[in-house]
């Protein structure tokens, strides 16, 4: 295709310093979750009443409103769906095009939004087994990215 994304041109012309990934503002629901990801651990919540596991973190269980406890997840999951983003004018993402955005189903049950890193976009498929890798985005927060299980890469 000859009509290259306009964003590619814009990114090339952009001489500002790289913009970091956005960072969340932790609150009472989420501080432990974000801190754990900062420290390289993936937490999910499990209901002490019905046993349902959930993400994102909430005050109580979204299924039965029971109390929840933190459980460290295995970090393993499979790709439920994915897309390759080829147009995004927002920094810092426009500098990373093309990149893979995916929904991953964790072994523990919950589904989460993420990026698949450590492989070429064309190697991503639905059902691909993946494992978590982490990136700090502030002093108190990190985010989970996922990479194919068996891949050597441990960071993006």
């Amino acid at each position: 295709m000859s009509d290259r994304p306009a964003s590619t041109t814009a990114a090339t012309a952009d001489e500002r310093p790289p913009k970091p990934r956005p960072a969340p503002v932790p609150d009472a629901d989420s501080a432990e979750y974000w801190q754990a990801a900062h420290d390289g651990r993936l937490l999910v919540q499990r209901c002490t009443a019905c046993g349902n596991a959930q993400l994102y973190p909430r005050d109580r269980c979204r299924r039965c409103r029971g109390a929840v406890e933190w459980v460290e997840a295995s970090g393993r999951g499979t790709v439920y769906s994915f897309t390759v983003i080829r147009q995004n004018y927002a920094r810092p993402f426009r500098d990373q095009i093309p990149y893979v955005v995916a929904l991953v189903d964790l072994e523990e049950g919950p589904r989460c939004m993420t990026n698949i890193v450590g492989c070429a976009p064309e190697d991503v498929r639905i059902g691909l087994p993946v494992r978590a890798t982490f990136e700090a985005v502030s002093d108190v927060a990190g985010i989970a990215l996922f990479t194919p299980q068996g891949a050597g890469a441990t960071s993006p």
């Binding site: 295709m1 009509d3 994304p5 990934r21 956005p22 960072a23 969340p24 503002v25 993400l55 994102y56 439920y80 769906s81 994915f82 897309t83 390759v84 983003i85 080829r86 147009q87 995004n88 004018y89 927002a90 920094r91 810092p92 993402f93 990373q96 990149y99 955005v101 995916a102 929904l103 589904r111 989460c112 939004m113 993420t114 990026n115 976009p121 639905i126 985005v137 985010i143 990215l145």
Partner: protein, 389 residues
């Protein structure tokens, strides 16, 4: 003698000028559409005692009321994204049927194209921007509005074998309908090949799988059948309506990416109208993306789950096809100013009045308008009829 039940009807519809309105204010678009819809109904602002509209800040309806010089007794600004105007019409029907209002004016106005330019893919749900609250759990990874719908499209392809060519067929039919609409933003015919070879925005969605970005608006006037008796045009009856939601902007919170809220709102609306999908003569379906339409025809029950690709292919949505859809050219080609739901109502009413010219569905008696909002987050179905229930 028992009192006859009050029956909601639509007595006036209009679109504003579109798709390019340089220099016009957002509120001026509301005003132009309102003037035209009231004139279509043979009513004036003095007859209006209810106002419903949706926009992107709190107290929006109050702002529009102030601008239009209205002091309504009934006010509604429920915002469910693109499906807002179907919800507002449902609410307005309840209002006039309960006696809370006599004449409800529903208006929409947007200058999205003039304001934002053609920056597809940077909108809500990602792109590094922050929507409020828990939206952060999806927005940190750089997904885009198109990307969210692409996730649904990819999953549907995986589960049901839906092809890019089948999705493309939706865009091709909408463009053909747009070719008969002098106001449509894009009117030149396209082929399936054109769609699948257009630039990928977020795999598997190409540029031509995405709606246009426009300026524009519309309005409709809702009252009772009794009040409509001495008005100029034949009333269109609100036979039944319902709405539903599965999540806000987080696709990770959507239980099944191949099942939209239409699976709830559709059956509920059809039951309230006392009809089946087979009785529908024409559908005006939210077409933010080609995949939106494929999911919607399945969820509303026009075909089985998973068969939407085959249903829309081979002119299935064209006039004369399985389900004549978006006869004005839809959001994919005619006009998409951000929340297109009002246009669906206007076109459905025009079909039932026989005013659609080259894309008129012969003897259309029952029409469905179905809006989809957010990231497949909300669905609202309205069943309209030419004859009293």
């Amino acid at each position: 003698m028992t009192a006859r039940r009050r029956q909601a009807v639509v007595v006036g519809v209009a679109t504003s000028d579109y798709p390019h309105l340089p220099g016009m204010s957002e509120y001026g678009v509301h005003g132009q559409a309102a003037d035209r819809a009231l004139a279509d109904a043979g009513l004036t602002f003095a007859d209006v005692d209810g106002l419903a509209t949706a926009g992107f800040f709190p107290m929006y309806a109050t702002m529009v009321a102030e601008y239009l010089g209205l002091h309504p007794l009934y006010l509604d600004e429920t915002n469910t994204g693109g499906s807002s105007f179907e919800v507002l019409l449902e609410h307005a029907a309840y209002a006039v049927e309960s006696g809370a209002a006599e004449v409800v004016l529903i208006t929409y106005g947007s200058i999205q194209l003039s304001q934002m330019g053609r920056r597809l893919g940077t909108g809500g749900g990602g792109g590094g921007g922050f929507a409020p609250g828990p939206s952060v759990y999806d927005s940190l990874w750089g997904n885009t509005l198109v990307g969210n719908y692409a996730l649904a499209a990819r999953r549907h392809m995986h589960q049901y074998g839906t092809t890019a060519e089948q999705l493309a067929a939706v865009a091709v039919t909408m463009r053909r309908h747009a070719g008969t609409n002098p106001q449509a933003q894009e009117r030149d015919p396209i082929t399936v090949e054109d769609v699948v070879t257009s630039r990928l925005v977020a795999d598997p969605l190409h540029k031509l799988d995405c709606c246009v970005i426009s300026d524009g608006g519309g309005a409709c006037v809702v009252t009772t059948a009794e009040r409509a008796a001495d008005l100029r045009s034949a009333p269109v009856y609100v036979l039944g309506a319902a709405h539903a939601t599965t999540h806000h902007l987080n696709m990770s919170a959507m239980p099944d990416l191949t099942v939209t809220p239409a699976a709830q709102s559709g059956p509920a609306a059809f039951a309230r109208a006392g009809i089946t999908p087979a009785e529908v003569d024409t559908a005006q379906l939210y077409d933010s993306f080609t995949i939106t339409v494929v999911l919607t025809v399945e969820d509303l029950g026009f075909c089985e789950k998973g068969e939407g690709g085959a249903f829309v292919a081979d002119d299935g949505l064209a006039v004369g096809g399985r389900l004549p859809t978006n006869t004005d050219g839809g959001g994919l080609s005619a006009c998409h100013p951000g929340m297109r739901g009002m246009f669906l109502i206007v076109e459905a009413v025009r079909q039932l009045r026989g005013q659609c010219g080259a894309t008129q569905v012969p003897d259309a008696r029952i029409a469905v308008a179905h809006g989809t909002g957010g990231m497949l987050s909300t669905g609202a179905t309205v069943v309209l009829g030419r004859e009293a229930p």
